[in-house]
């Protein structure tokens, strides 16, 4: 029981542990955004002409767009001209080729986070494409991946090495003009991960990347593109932490997943960025566009997310189920505390026949936070026999927080079936009574109940992923199995 005790404390009262700033000289652009900045950025990254064109086109689209205001979040306007759009650790021209060459200061940062890259990668068999601010600085386990034919590299490298793949798939799932933040990202994305799994290959290990926002006032614009060819499989893990800082930092990432016939992608996220202090000061703005396109038949995608950080979360990992019999899944735990605001959910767009989707969303709000589930389930006219099941549950801890549900359900097919259910509750007196009657003290009882509440989602996470989330998830995962 001791572990579950710690868990509740971790979940509810925890202070952000990862608040420190690594002192590294950064090669950073002056704040501001215009076409010149984009040209410089593209030139610095030695991108081919088509990329620059693509970025500029996105930028021009972005200029015409309005910032979305529909989300159930409240924050001061972001001044996009006060942000610097590029920041890289020093010596960009001489990137480290192996772990030994990595700046020891960086390695120490990871160690402070509890992820000794080297050791952990070996033990867990995880290849890590670590992103520190904007440029990938270390990539391990390239060899076994190369042997399998898997491409796992920074996207800036992919742009140079595999331009035809990038040209074909970049922006194919999330078009540059998709939304305000996606357009901004398309214009100025700094780096990110590129994964290509060839036909019939089961990726030999879990792929993982760590994002950290480091230099002050630097927006981080990650771009991830994962392509799973026919019959392939990959499990991708993403985890985030950021140093403690008073100013709000903007993070506008785009993740695109392309899944062809019979392929499967499992994408897991633990997001634990700086949520701001007890008075709601500071914290990360996390405005993310994540979308998976199941283009092929029998394709499958599964999003699992544990969101505990960020001052503001605006994130809707989506699935476009185009291929017949394709499957989309979304499992989410979102915890908000103090003044955190989360507006998160998913979109399931059923276009193909017999497409199936499942949505399990658990929201926990505490303190003065606001936690909203916003989702769309849509059946197109061609989605014969499509099926969706949605469950979103909210748990309120304290009487000053809010829990909201905004599900959009649209059907245009007579043979499609959708079921949606949502409940909101607090830890009930009956549950508490039952536990206490059996000699369990109140704190332990609450922790047991919260743990049980999230169990359905935690069990979807790969066990290897417990590391970055630290005690937070480790405890939760252990709790879910015993």
């Amino acid at each position: 029981m001791a572990t579950t005790d710690t868990e509740v404390k971790e979940l509810i009262k925890r202070e952000y542990e990862h608040g420190f700033v690594t002192e590294i000289e950064s090669d950073t652009f002056e704040p501001g955004l215009n076409e010149d900045v984009i040209r410089r950025l593209s030139e610095l990254k030695q991108e081919p002409e088509f990329m620059l064109e693509w970025r500029l086109k996105a930028y021009r689209r972005w200029l015409e767009m309005d910032e979305p205001e529909w989300a159930h979040v409240d924050f001061p306007k972001v001044d996009y001209n006060s942000i610097s759009y590029y920041s890289a650790p020093k010596r960009p021209e001489d990137m480290p080729q192996s772990l030994d060459e990595v700046d020891p200061e960086l390695l120490r940062t990871y160690e402070k986070l509890g992820i000794p890259l080297h050791e952990r990668a070996k033990l867990a068999g995880v290849a890590v494409d670590a992103v520190f601010d904007s440029v990938s600085v270390a990539t391990t386990f390239k060899e076994p991946l190369e042997k399998a034919g898997v491409i796992f590299c920074p996207i800036s490298e992919a742009v140079q090495k595999y331009p035809e793949l990038v040209k074909k798939y970049l922006g194919s799932v999330v078009p540059a003009g998709d939304n305000y933040f996606a357009a901004l990202n398309s214009a100025v994305f700094s780096d990110g991960s590129f994964v290509y799994i060839p036909k019939g290959v089961r990726c030999p290990m879990e792929l993982s990347t760590y994002f950290r926002i480091n230099a002050a006032n630097t927006g981080q614009f990650e771009r991830t593109l994962i392509i799973a060819e026919e019959g392939s499989y990959v499990s991708y893990l993403e985890g985030c932490t950021a140093p403690m800082r008073d100013e709000n930092q903007l993070h506008a990432a785009v993740v695109e997943l392309v899944i062809l016939d019979d392929a499967q992608i499992k994408y897991s996220t633990v997001q634990n960025w700086y949520p701001g202090d007890e008075n709601g000061k500071g914290g990360i703005y996390n405005f993310v566009t994540k979308r998976a396109a199941c283009i092929g038949k029998n394709a499958k995608v599964s999003w699992t997310q544990v969101e505990t950080g960020s001052a503001i979360t605006w994130k809707y990992p989506s699935c476009v189920l185009r291929g017949d019999n394709s499957v989309g899944e979304f499992y989410s735990v979102a915890l908000t505390h103090n003044y955190q605001q989360a507006d998160t959910g998913t979109k399931m767009i059923h276009l193909g026949k017999n497409t199936k989707s499942t949505i399990i969303s658990k929201g926990i709000s505490a303190g003065r936070s606001s936690n909203a589930y916003r989702g769309l389930v849509k059946f197109g006219p061609g989605a014969d026999g499509a099926r969706n099941f949605t469950q979103c549950d909210s748990l309120l801890i304290g009487d000053r927080c809010g829990a909201h549900t905004f599900p959009y359900i649209e059907s245009r097919n007579k043979s499609a079936i959708v079921e949606h259910e949502a409940t909101t509750s607090k830890v009930s007196d009956e549950q508490m009574f039952l536990c206490r009657q059996r000699g369990i003290d109140p704190e332990q009882a609450v922790s047991m109940i919260v743990n049980g509440f999230c169990k359905e989602v935690f069990k979807e996470l790969p066990m290897e992923f417990a590391v970055e989330a630290g005690k937070l998830l480790e405890v939760s995962l252990e709790g879910s199995v015993g």
Partner: protein, 428 residues
């Protein structure tokens, strides 16, 4: 970007100057708020699915004259008030003088009563959400005031027949205000019908103000013709331990929109909202409901069922808002939908917004079709496929329709619905 369309200034000129002075003044004041009122577009959240059905031409701004003969499909076992094109017709109305109960048309109010009413009109509605209630505020030409003194009980249901005589293009603005004193009781039936083939707009507002312990049942039947665009709003304010029950049965048309807003302002208030909608052809129906739990210990229960056939479009949007002090609230919302053809569309959005922790809230929504196994069961017992379909579809909505407490209305609704389904499943 092209500028958002605004309401044509043609709509700013009300007719019907026979109203008492305070109400004319109120109307004038509200009309000023209409200048440049933006019309909903696809981007307007609460009109997202319906804005494309809204077609307001300038000649539609003309008030339809209060003449014609009122028709009703109901056999009326109670008191009756007839409105034609938003104006009460005393000759066609029948209700006795009852102790403690005022039933009066707006035009007949004396200055004091009119003054009091002008302070109350519009108070039960959130005009941000029900934008078109503003148009009614500025345009109503008559209306019905019902005041129940404390403890008054109306012994029989009161039927209000709203008839739209659309022989020429135009609009009507019916308005009802019900003030229910402490522990008073009544059942109100509103039937909306129409005759004539010209395009018409019916823009209605009905308000209920329930004082402590009042008990009101409201039944609303929407049976207008295809040519009528109906945009209605109902606002309900509930005091301590009051009880409100609503039954809406709607048949589709070119545009049907009903906003039902309930505010539970006194502790222990209870509300129950039932709704049934059927659409066929190219019809449309949009129900928007919202329940605000403002006070603690209130209960709400909401059940809506939609059936869309052919290329029609049915929409349900239910919102439950639990305010910070509304502890021990219990709210339950349920929306089930049958989609009968591939060209049809159903959109549903059951929303919860919760700011108190000690609450029990749940909502559920489904969209699906008739169960093949049940159909097979019926067919295997010698019931024709068409009849089996009608039976099962009737069963789907009858769960709600059978709860309508006034027999005459219940039976009429059941008959009409049965006819509707016979027609829908004709090809089988």
């Amino acid at each position: 970007m092209k500028p958002a369309p605004t309401l044509s200034s043609a709509f700013l000129h009300p007719a019907g100057q026979t109203l008492p002075e305070p109400l004319l003044a109120l109307r004038k004041q509200r009309a000023s708020a209409l200048i440049d009122m933006p019309l909903p577009t696809r981007k307007t959240e609460n009109w997202k699915y319906s804005s494309k059905y809204l077609k307001l031409s300038d000649d539609m701004a003309i008030s339809l004259p209060a003449e014609g003969k009122a028709g009703t499909s109901l056999a009326i076992p109670g008191y009756k008030v007839v409105f034609i094109n938003g104006v009460m017709i005393p000759e066609a109305s029948e209700y006795p003088d009852l102790d403690g109960i005022v039933i009066q048309s707006f035009s007949d109010l004396d200055a004091n009563e009119a003054q009091a009413l002008s302070m109350q009109l519009g108070s039960a509605l959130d005009h941000e959400q029900a934008q078109f209630a503003r148009v009614n505020d500025a345009r109503f030409e008559d209306g019905l005031l019902i005041r129940l003194k404390p403890g008054a009980v109306l012994d029989q249901p009161l039927f209000i027949i709203h008839n739209t005589e659309a022989d020429a293009c135009g609009s009507a603005y019916p308005r009802i205000y019900v003030e229910a004193g402490a522990n008073s009781q009544m059942t109100l039936v509103e039937e909306y019908t129409s005759s004539g083939e010209a395009s018409a707009l019916v823009n209605t507002v009905t308000e209920f103000n329930l004082t402590d312990g009042a008990n009101i049942t409201s039944i609303r039947l929407n049976m207008e013709g295809e040519n009528v665009q109906h945009i209605g709003a109902t606002g309900v304010l509930q005091g301590r331990n009051s009880r409100f029950e609503s039954h809406c049965v709607g048949f589709g048309g070119q545009l049907r929109r009903h906003d039902l807003q309930v505010r539970l302002e006194g502790e222990g208030a209870e509300t129950k909202l039932n709704g049934v909608v059927v659409t066929q052809g190219k019809q449309h129906y949009d129900n928007h409901t919202s329940i605000d739990h403002v006070a603690a210990n209130c209960t709400s229960e909401e059940t809506y069922r939609n059936i869309a056939a052919d290329q029609s479009h049915a929409i349900f949007n239910g919102r439950i808002h639990i305010h910070q002090d509304a502890q021990k609230s219990s709210a339950d919302m349920n929306n089930k939908n049958l989609l009968l053809n591939n060209g049809a569309e159903i959109d549903t959005k059951p929303e919860l917004e919760i700011y108190a922790d000690d609450v029990k809230c749940a909502h559920g929504a489904t969209i699906g079709q008739l169960d093949e196994t049940s159909l097979f069961y019926l067919v295997s017992r010698g019931i024709g496929r068409r009849e089996a379909n009608v039976l099962l579809t009737m069963a789907f909505i009858n769960e709600l329709v059978s709860q309508i407490p006034v027999q005459a209305v219940r039976e009429t609704a059941q008959l009409r619905l049965n006819d509707f389904f016979e027609q829908t499943f004709q090809e089988i």
